[in-house]
């Protein structure tokens, strides 16, 4: 690479070395890998795979999906989760509260998308990706929740859950199951879905 060995002006160019480097690069790009390097990569992978399996879990665990919203980590239980999908297209809906972003279609079903930040009345700070939608439901209704990004699936021991700290106020405190030691806020999605405030019923004259 040019940045790897910058040519000092005034010095004669070491053409043979340059050509050798170019030849090596060409070899690499055409798939003829250096045997030593290949060996190194294989060994690294073997070392990675050689990690001993985690100890069997004891007690009660909540299977959760961890996601990030406004720079904070949240989690929700997998039993309410139907599917995650990227927010590709949505239709804004008029005469709805601000937390309803709009409607989208999932396999022929119309799903409303809710912005939890507005629902929890959090301050809208910084730019957000908001390009992930987690479709949740409790059998009665289905709703899409916006997330900045989705971290992954994990398990949270129920015993480790602590009550919400003082910083969580209002609706957030109300719909929170608990907070882990890693400051992962686990949302009580059953309560949210059962809440009347999420149901929009407005008529405009």
């Amino acid at each position: 690479m040019a940045s790897g060995n910058p040519q000092q002006p005034g010095q004669p160019l070491d053409w043979p070395a340059l050509l050798e480097r170019q030849r090596l690069l060409a070899c690499e790009l055409s798939g003829q890998e250096d045997p030593g390097e290949v060996q190194g990569v294989l060994e690294a992978r073997a070392a990675e795979l050689a990690v001993p399996p985690p100890e069997p879990r004891s007690g009660r665990y909540l299977d959760c999906l961890e996601f990030v919203l406004s720079g904070e980590r949240y989690a929700l239980e997998l039993r309410y989760l139907i599917q995650t999908l990227p927010l590709t297209d949505f239709t804004p809906l008029f005469c709805t509260p601000p937390f309803v972003l709009g409607l989208t279609i999932l396999r022929g079903r119309i799903i409303s998308i809710i912005d939890l930040r507005r629902f929890f009345e959090l301050p809208l700070v910084g730019l957000a990706d908001l390009n992930r939608v987690m479709v949740v439901g409790n059998g009665a209704m289905e709703v899409g929740i916006l997330a900045d990004s989705i971290v992954g699936v994990g398990s949270v021991p129920v015993a480790e859950l602590q009550p919400a700290p003082a910083a969580f106020t209002g609706l957030r405190e109300e719909f929170l199951s608990g907070v882990t030691a890693e400051r992962l806020a686990v949302l009580d999605l059953g309560k949210i879905l059962a809440d009347r405030r999420i149901v929009v019923h407005e008529e405009v004259g």
Binding site: S3, L81, P86, G152
Partner: protein, 618 residues
Amino acid sequence: MLGNLKIRSRLIAGFAVVVLFLILVGGISLRNLMAQGDLMTRFFEHPFVVTASIQEVQEQIVRIHRSMKDVVLYGSDRSELAIALKDIDNSEQIVYRELAVAKERFLGDKAKMDRIKVLMDQWRPVRERTVDLVRQGKLEEAARFHKEFARHLVSNIDSEVEGVLQYSKNKAKNFMEQSQSSQRSTLALTGILICLAALLAAAIAYVITRSILGPLKEAVEAADRLALGDLSVEIGSSCDNEIGQLLRSMGTMVASWRRMGENANRIALGDLNLEVVPNSERDVFGIAMRNMVLSLKRLAASADRIAAGDLTVELEPASDKDQLGHSFAAMSRNLRELSQEIREVVGVLAASAGEIMTTVSELASSSAETASSVSETNATVQEVRQTTDLTSQKSRQVYESASNSVQVAKNGQFSVEEAIGGMRGIDERMGFIAERIVNLSEQSQAIAEIIATVNDLAEQSNLLAVNAAIEAAKAGEHGKGFAVVAQEVKNLATQSKQATAQVRGILGVIQKATSAAVLATEQGSKAVENGLRQSGAAGEAIRQLAAAIEESSNATLQIVTSTQEQAIGMDQIAIAVQSINQASGQNLEGSRQIEAAARNLYELNQKLQQLVSRYTLA
């Protein structure tokens, strides 16, 4: 015969003879003219008048005859008859009158005239008878009567008249021939006489002229010889006339001139001991000769004194135009001045001769010095010759090195042109590199797009993995293995994402590097342009250098030739100096001779002084 006659008498006699002859000729001519006139008168009185009268008679007879015919034809008419009778009467009267005239003049037989008259008388009663018959009305009888008598009568009358007329015409012809013969004889006679007169006049003129011109020609020849100065001519004449007198005077004159010529000859030979006596008081030549002798004697005396060395003599010229006197006076004056000047010049010459002697001595010593100097110059010229050889050698070397320099400069120019070509190649390659780098940049852009796609795929894989995990969790215990797989998939997706981030970073670095490379190639291209310009300048400089070297090479060549010429010139100088050396030796010899000559000059001057002192000037 004529010799002793005076010229005037001769001329008078000759002219008198010619005039007498002319009078004779005139008389004869006049007589002939009178004879001619008589002949003409007779001619008029006789044949001419008779012919005219007879012709009139004939005409009138014809008229009478015609009138009678009228009477016979128109006799019934009284008025016609009267007119015709009147005409007949008139004609008859005219006939009788004319017959009378003709009879008087007729030269031939006068009986013919009487016969005509008788016939006319016979015709008259016939006519009267006819008229009476007509008056009586017997016209036919009258016509018959007229036919019987009148016709016969009239033809008789006609034949008679015709005979008279013929005779008169013959007579006129005779007269004409007579007149012509007389005229011819007169012309011949007159011509002969005129010719004779002319011959006589010519003979007289010749004789007189000859008698005058003979002695005159002699005198003219003598005068011509005298005019040419020939005094040996003898002139004399025994004749008594004017020319004889002229010739005798000329003889006297010649004798006088001869005497004078002898005197002049003696004077010309320088004999002044002669006494010239003039012939008379008015003898201009004699007096002039005497004066001339006196003047010459005076001059001779003066010349004698001058010859004796006495230059004090003063001569008065005889007149303003006395050329010899003036010349003599001027000569004596000039001789005085000349002697004076010669005396002064001789003094000066004496001093100059002394100076020349000293100068010549100095000249001899300086010639010796010149000889030694010339020897030194000769040595110097040899040295300069060697120096010139050295210069020639060196300039040849310089010329060779300049030629080499020209070759080197040409090589340099060629190299610069090659360098310019190479630079152009570099410029092209620089452009090629820049283009390639930009291509690479574009390809890394494609890679970035691919990477974006891969990132998207990784995102989707991640999401799929999450969904798979969700499904696995829903499956409970049965989904455990699937959850592990989903976790692996998720890990791979995460790694892919990280890898794409790395690739993007690397692409950014590549982009910066390519930009730097493009900039560097651009700078390289500019540097090559600069190099081209500088190479061009260097090429121009080398070209000028080559031209300058070539010029200096040419100059050196000229120097070489010049030094060669110089060497030749030095050789010539050496030869010339050699010649000068010899010449200075000769000079030395010559100056010694000059010294001897100067001594001789001095001695000559001494003699000259003695000679000049013999002339007295005052």
